[in-house]
């Protein structure tokens, strides 16, 4: 166990973290939703973020993805201090987020969703008339879905007619297509059937293969243990521990989640 900490430290020294969050605080009125949290994500690593309801997981990642602006603390991405005032700025920095609630338009097809907000256009009459390049969108979305091994029967159909898993896959494909350097997933398997949950988890593995780091929030510990390299546990706004997945088990993690264990407290002892 002693060795572990040293190993993690050594890893940190040899490789630059992709993302470093330092002493992050976010308050909502009198409530401190995120309280002095530090954590790092390294290239090609899947980090699980777990904790009870209202632990502050979503708030933490929303600070990273530009939805919220932190009250205190710093965020470094690829070595640079970043301050995103809007989600689009985080996306421009290639931090892509798969939200708890799907950020897709159900009335549009796969291609339209993948290219939403960044639609390719063909120019006519010297740029006077611009027309959506549907052919390009279709071809590119077929390519990316193929690369991720996702089967979509009909690319022209509105995605609300697809299954929940397929839709989640579209969201992930969109992030990959736009060259995500960090993928944040907030309960991506929520409301999915068993088979679909497995598909999404396979996609997470696929992302790791492609060296895209992932922060995965989930209440399903077996999923967390199946795909993560490291687990960060939050409790009432605090980070209470951080463990290598191979060196812990769900029983221990649950104890941290409910507040029975707490590294900050235990280190005082």
């Amino acid at each position: 166990m002693e060795q572990t900490a040293v190993e993690i430290k050594q890893g940190a020294q040899t490789r630059e973290p992709m993302l470093r969050v330092h002493q992050l605080v976010k308050r909502f009125g009198g409530l401190t939703a995120v309280n002095k949290v530090d954590f790092e994500v390294y290239p090609g690593e899947v980090v699980g973020l777990v904790g009870d309801n209202a632990a502050g997981k979503s708030t933490l990642i929303k600070c990273i993805s530009g939805v919220h602006q932190p009250d205190e603390g710093e965020i470094f991405f690829q070595g640079q201090r970043v301050r995103f005032s809007r989600p689009m700025e985080a996306r421009d920095a290639h931090i892509e987020t798969i939200y708890q609630d799907l950020a897709l338009a159900g009335n549009l097809n796969v291609g339209a969703n993948i290219f939403m907000g960044r639609e390719p256009q063909k120019s006519y009459l010297g740029g006077l008339i611009k027309v959506l390049d549907e052919g390009f969108m279709l071809a590119e979305s077929q390519k990316i879905m193929g690369r991720l091994g996702i089967h979509i029967p009909d690319f022209s159909q509105q995605i609300e007619t697809l299954s929940g898993g397929q839709r989640q896959a579209v969201a992930i494909a969109r992030a990959v297509y736009w060259k995500a350097q960090l993928m944040i997933m907030d309960e991506p398997t929520n409301n999915l059937g068993v088979v679909e949950q497995r598909q999404v988890l396979e996609l997470v593995q696929e992302l790791r293969q492609q060296n895209v780091p992932v922060i995965l929030i989930s209440h399903t510990l077996p999923d967390i243990f199946a795909v993560t390299d490291r687990i960060v546990v939050m409790h009432r706004g605090h980070k209470v521990t951080e463990k290598k997945t191979s060196e812990t088990d769900s029983q221990e993690i649950v104890q941290y989640m409910v507040g029975a264990l707490d590294d900050r407290r235990d280190s005082y002892l």
């Binding site: 689009m88 338009a105 159900g106 009335n107 907000g117 959506l132 007619t161």
Partner: protein
């Protein structure tokens, strides 16, 4: 193993047919308005002939042109509205907006003409005045809706009252007259003239100087207002289906939050939509001024309801995210065919309203039953 495979195949077949059923339901919901329109026309052709003992024909050139002229304002009001409702909004101000534009364009035409400008320039000035004035009001609506987060229903309801007041104020509570007489031609002449029989012929862009029986038998095909409206419809279809502007409109109506997160400038787009809606109402007002050679502060009042009815019959969902300009064209046509046909059958006016009302509700019911069927298939 073999048995397992067979059942899997069977299951596949079942999914396929379910898929087919779904597509069928979709198709039906898409074409029902066309079918309904065709049925209506057929019904009136037969019933008008029968009730008149064969003396009156519903499907004459003249009658079809009358119908086209009748839908011009309804469709124009519905055109901008189509975009607004697809994006999840509503614009209740278009009726009085049209009246305001009618008054403003009449004042502009008269003013510019009296300053000594040629007729054509005066008419162009009237067009620009109508479009600019309405777009400015639309911008105010959109800004209050998008930036100050006041519900569109409230903002445009208030705006509607204000436009009504402004129209009456500018027109001094009466009709704006004294326009140059040539204005009438812009509003009433047409692309083609058709005179049948002896001494007749087809005339393009050039009204033949005829009188008496020949004049009475002359048909005007594609009056200028109809041409302008057709161009507006074509542009509307193009913009909604083929451009990023249209795509943003659907995306915002489909999932506003997703559109925001995808970096679509949602607020700016919403403002543009209310400007568009106001401006198409402005064009309708301008055209009515040409048609009647007068600015009227009440001309649009009765048209708001019809235009929203056209949009809804055309399949635009009030929840946003779905609909098309073509649908609104059909919706407007259905209303016009209904009212014209019922008039020709000598049915009393109140029945027109009742029938249109029933059709509106029917249209939404059909849309919903499609969702119901689709939803049931999904959950199976």
């Amino acid at each position: 193993m073999a048995v397992q495979k067979q059942t899997a195949d069977l299951a596949g077949l079942a999914i396929l047919t379910k898929e087919r059923q779904k597509q069928l339901a979709l198709l039906l919901s898409r074409v029902w308005a066309w079918v309904f329109l065709a049925t209506l026309v057929l019904f009136f052709v037969v019933s008008v002939r029968q009730t008149s003992g064969g003396a009156v024909n519903f499907l004459t050139v003249r009658n079809s042109q009358n119908i086209l002229v009748a839908i011009t304002p309804v469709f124009l009001l519905g055109l901008g509205q189509t975009f607004v409702i697809i994006a999840g909004g509503i614009d209740l101000s278009v009726g009085h907006m049209m009246s305001m534009a009618s008054v403003v364009s009449a004042l502009a035409i008269r003013g510019v003409y009296n300053e000594g400008a040629p007729l054509f320039i005066s008419v162009v000035a009237g067009f620009l005045a109508a479009v600019c004035a309405t777009a400015a009001v639309g911008m105010a609506h959109g800004t209050i809706i998008a930036k100050l987060k006041v519900p569109a229903f409230i903002v445009t309801l208030g705006g509607s009252f204000i436009m009504r007041g402004v129209a009456l104020l500018l027109s001094d509570n009466t009709t704006v007259i004294g326009l140059p007489p040539g204005v009438r031609d812009y509003g009433n002449e047409s692309l083609l003239y058709l005179i049948r029989g002896e001494g007749g012929g087809i005339y393009f862009l050039n009204r033949p100087e005829v009188s008496g029986a020949l004049l009475r038998s002359m048909d005007r095909i594609f009056p200028y207002p109809v041409v302008l409206t057709a161009i507006a419809a074509a542009i509307g279809i193009f913009v909604l289906k083929k451009t990023a502007f249209g795509r943003y409109t659907y995306a915002i109506g489909g999932n506003r939050e997703a559109a925001l997160r995808a970096g679509i400038p949602v607020d700016r787009h919403v403002i543009k939509l209310y400007m568009l809606s106001a401006a198409t109402a402005g064009i309708a007002g301008f055209l009515s001024t040409l048609r009647y050679t007068a600015g009227s502060a009440v001309i649009g009042e009765a048209l708001l309801m019809s235009s929203i009815a056209a949009v809804i019959i055309g399949g635009v969902s009030l929840f946003g995210g779905a609909g098309s300009v073509t649908g609104t064209v059909i919706g407007a046509l259905i209303i016009a065919v209904l009212t014209t046909g019922l008039v020709m059958l000598n049915v009393q006016a109140f029945w027109q309203f009742i029938v249109v009302g029933v059709v509106v509700i029917l249209a939404v019911l059909i849309d919903q039953s499609r969702d119901l069927i689709m939803g049931r298939m999904e959950s199976e």
